[in-house]
């Protein structure tokens, strides 16, 4: 028998929690903290070296708490280890420049990517790792459990119960990991109300809340104006629908953000329905509430959508379509990033998205020189989950194309959809990803590859579709990629004879091979050609943000 541990050695986290709560009590602040005293509270409950999880994704942001933390005294608070889904706001970077935080574990850093890269080069920040969302959430429950979390909700009641509103997003995962391992949960809310529409976070998981002087920031990241969709994107969408969606009977899927996939969404009520695909494809989604999906929903093409977060302006439409979206008894949407990412990983048969660069092995990356952007959720959904065991026709067909008729597992369809040139004639297809140079200059252990080539099953460009499942050698794979790489240097260097052979075998398929008349590749085929059209389709329920109203 081991000697018994001395009493108290088993609850140091709980004791730490009590110590912090007592310090807050000595300030004379109650659970509801006045906004003017938030800095004092943070300095009282956070200790140097703490792991602090700051809520904020590419949608909802705990921006008031982030700014308050950045304004704390670095002599009191320093060497914090920040845990964040997304590094998006200037104040997120201020924390490091002001010496309050020194270490960062995160997932995505879009708008602050350049500032972050400079901090790394100046050694003002130590990056633990760059994760996917699910990895980061997973580590909150393993070795990155927060001491304190700073979260955002729509409203609180006097007891401290929280209503997150449609943008629940990451809140449940963060609070669960913190509240049940001796941590402190601090929430900013937009308003204090007598009665919440529903309770998303119960009061006894919340230690402090503050009514922020202005509502938390939410970015309408998933709104794409149909007016900006081009004829080439319509052509690519037609090819994808006929050559992949119809071919595999893809019913359960996730779409990335972008105009390429927005074009597909807007062809569901028109071209796809004309092909007889209504009800046979795209019925069940893990997807944010994309406004461009409204015409498909209204046309009866969609049965169910579970969302990572909400989308600004879609609230009333979602509430009025509770058969489609996940909503509470109160009527408003409940999103959940961790669950929706899990759905995208395990319960979907296809991920389709765009990227900035693709190499000859099919690896793709959104990294560019001088910017650290991270991963977000795309790699969770854009990967073949080896933990999957349930079958579906699409999954089985893809698995048998790759492994033959006796394959013992299926395959997730992972599709990259790109025009061969980006703006300023920058080629998407490259011999070597910029990610390798970034790895060198940033001292990373691995190049930041978004989707690994061995997970990619199809590449769609304006020149056609390459089916990588059917390639049997690395050489075939390389030529299949070159064969749809258009007039980029990579495409021009193709072995024309081999590409023609791949086309004979159906590994490469051009628009004409799919029976697509280029004259139909026209914006007139889109179910909506403007944001105003989307509002009309929604019966006036969709209320687009001001920046998307040009009428």
């Amino acid at each position: 028998m081991n000697a018994p541990h001395s009493p108290g050695a088993w609850d140091t986290r709980r004791q730490g929690r009590m110590r912090r709560i007592e310090r807050a009590a000595s300030l004379g602040v109650a659970r509801q903290v006045p906004a003017s005293r938030i800095g004092e509270l943070l300095e009282a409950v956070i200790e140097p070296g703490d792991r602090v999880c700051l809520e904020g994704n590419n949608q909802k942001q705990a921006d008031f708490l982030s700014e308050a933390l950045a304004d704390c005294n670095p002599e009191r608070l320093h060497d914090l280890h920040m845990l964040q889904s997304v590094l998006a706001l200037p104040s997120h970077v201020d924390l490091f420049e002001r010496g309050i935080a020194s270490k960062l574990d995160f997932s995505f850093s879009g708008p602050q990517g350049a500032r972050l890269a400079r901090l790394v080069q100046d050694r003002q920040i130590e990056i633990g790792a760059i994760h996917t969302y699910l990895e980061l959430f997973g580590r909150y429950f393993v070795d990155l459990t927060p001491n304190v979390c700073l979260i955002a909700a729509q409203s609180a009641d006097a007891a401290g119960n929280l209503y997150t509103g449609p943008n629940t997003e990451d809140t449940p995962a963060i609070v669960e990991a913190t509240a049940f391992k001796g941590g402190i949960v601090i929430a900013q809310v937009n308003e204090l109300v007598d009665k919440l529409p529903r309770v998303d976070v119960p009061a006894d998981w919340v230690d402090f809340y503050v009514v922020a002087p202005r509502p938390n920031y939410i970015e309408p990241l998933f709104t794409r104006d149909p007016a900006q969709i081009t004829d080439v994107q319509v052509l690519m969408a037609m090819m994808a629908l006929k050559g992949i969606y119809a071919e595999y009977g893809v019913k359960r899927l996730n779409h990335g953000i972008g105009f390429d996939t927005a074009a597909i969404e807007l062809l569901l009520p028109t071209y796809a329905t004309e092909l007889g695909l209504k009800g046979k494809i795209c019925t069940h989604w893990a997807l944010n509430p994309h406004p461009t999906l409204i015409p498909a929903i209204e046309s009866g093409c969609v049965e169910s959508i579970h969302s990572f977060g909400s989308e600004v302006g879609m609230e009333n439409y979602i509430a009025a379509r509770s058969d489609i979206f996940f909503t509470g008894a109160d009527g408003s949407m409940r999103s959940n990033r961790a669950f929706s990412q899990t759905a995208g990983l395990y319960a979907c048969d296809m991920f389709i998205g765009s990227t900035l660069q693709i190499d000859l092995a099919g690896n793709s990356s959104t990294a560019t020189m001088g910017r650290i952007t991270g991963f977000g959720g795309a790699p969770n959904m854009g990967s073949d989950p080896h933990g999957r065991r349930h079958a579906s026709p699409a999954w089985l067909k893809a698995g048998r194309e790759a492994g033959g008729p006796d394959a013992i597992r299926g395959r997730k369809l992972v599709v990259q959809m790109v025009e061969t040139f980006r703006e300023h004639m920058a080629p998407v297809f490259v011999e070597e990803l910029d990610a390798w140079k970034l790895k060198e200059s940033m001292g990373m252990e691995l190049p930041p590859i978004m989707i690994y080539g061995d997970d990619v099953t199809h590449i769609v460009t304006e020149e056609g579709i390459a089916n990588l499942l059917l390639c049997r050698t690395p050489e075939e794979r390389e030529q299949a990629i070159r064969g749809v790489a258009g007039f980029t240097p990579v495409g021009m260097a193709r072995d024309r004879k081999m590409v023609e052979q791949l086309r004979q075998r159906g590994i490469i398929r051009r628009a004409e091979d799919l029976g697509i008349d280029p004259r139909r590749a026209n914006r007139d085929l889109l179910a909506a050609r403007s944001v105003k059209d989307l509002v009309r389709w929604s019966g006036g329920l969709y209320a687009p943000p001001a920046r998307f109203r040009n009428w």
């Binding site: 081009t230 004829d231 080439v232 052509l235 025009e419 061969t420 040139f421 004639m425 460009t461 304006e462 020149e463 258009g486 007039f487 021009m492 628009a511 004409e512 008349d517 280029p518 004259r519 590749a521």
Partner: protein, 104 residues
């Protein structure tokens, strides 16, 4: 502005219309006019483009088009305002579709 001229041998076309016009001269777009040419087994192309220095890519795009479709006996005039190869190829296909009445 840059003016480019090309001539490619190609299988003879079977026109269904006297001429075909496709696209508009706008940013990132182009206008293509297909008319009957002088030689039955060749296609001549005149490009006026606002983007200088892309002659090699133009040649490759049009050569690829002439090798994939029967376009002999045509004269093609292009007015371009910085269209990508993707847009050029799509518009060429659309103009040829109109010129041949869909038979390619």
């Amino acid at each position: 502005m840059e003016n480019l001229e090309f001539r490619f041998a190609a299988q003879p076309v079977k026109p269904a219309a006297g001429a075909a016009l496709c696209g508009v001269v706008g940013s990132g777009n182009l206008e293509i006019l297909i008319r009957p040419g002088d030689e039955a087994d060749a296609c001549t192309v005149v490009v006026k483009t606002s983007a200088r220095g892309f002659g090699k890519i133009w040649e490759a795009v049009i050569a690829e088009f002439a090798s994939r479709h029967p376009v002999g006996g045509t004269r093609i005039a292009i007015n371009d305002m910085g269209a990508t190869p993707a847009v050029v190829t799509l518009r060429l296909g659309q103009a040829l579709g109109d010129y041949t009445g869909g038979a390619q």
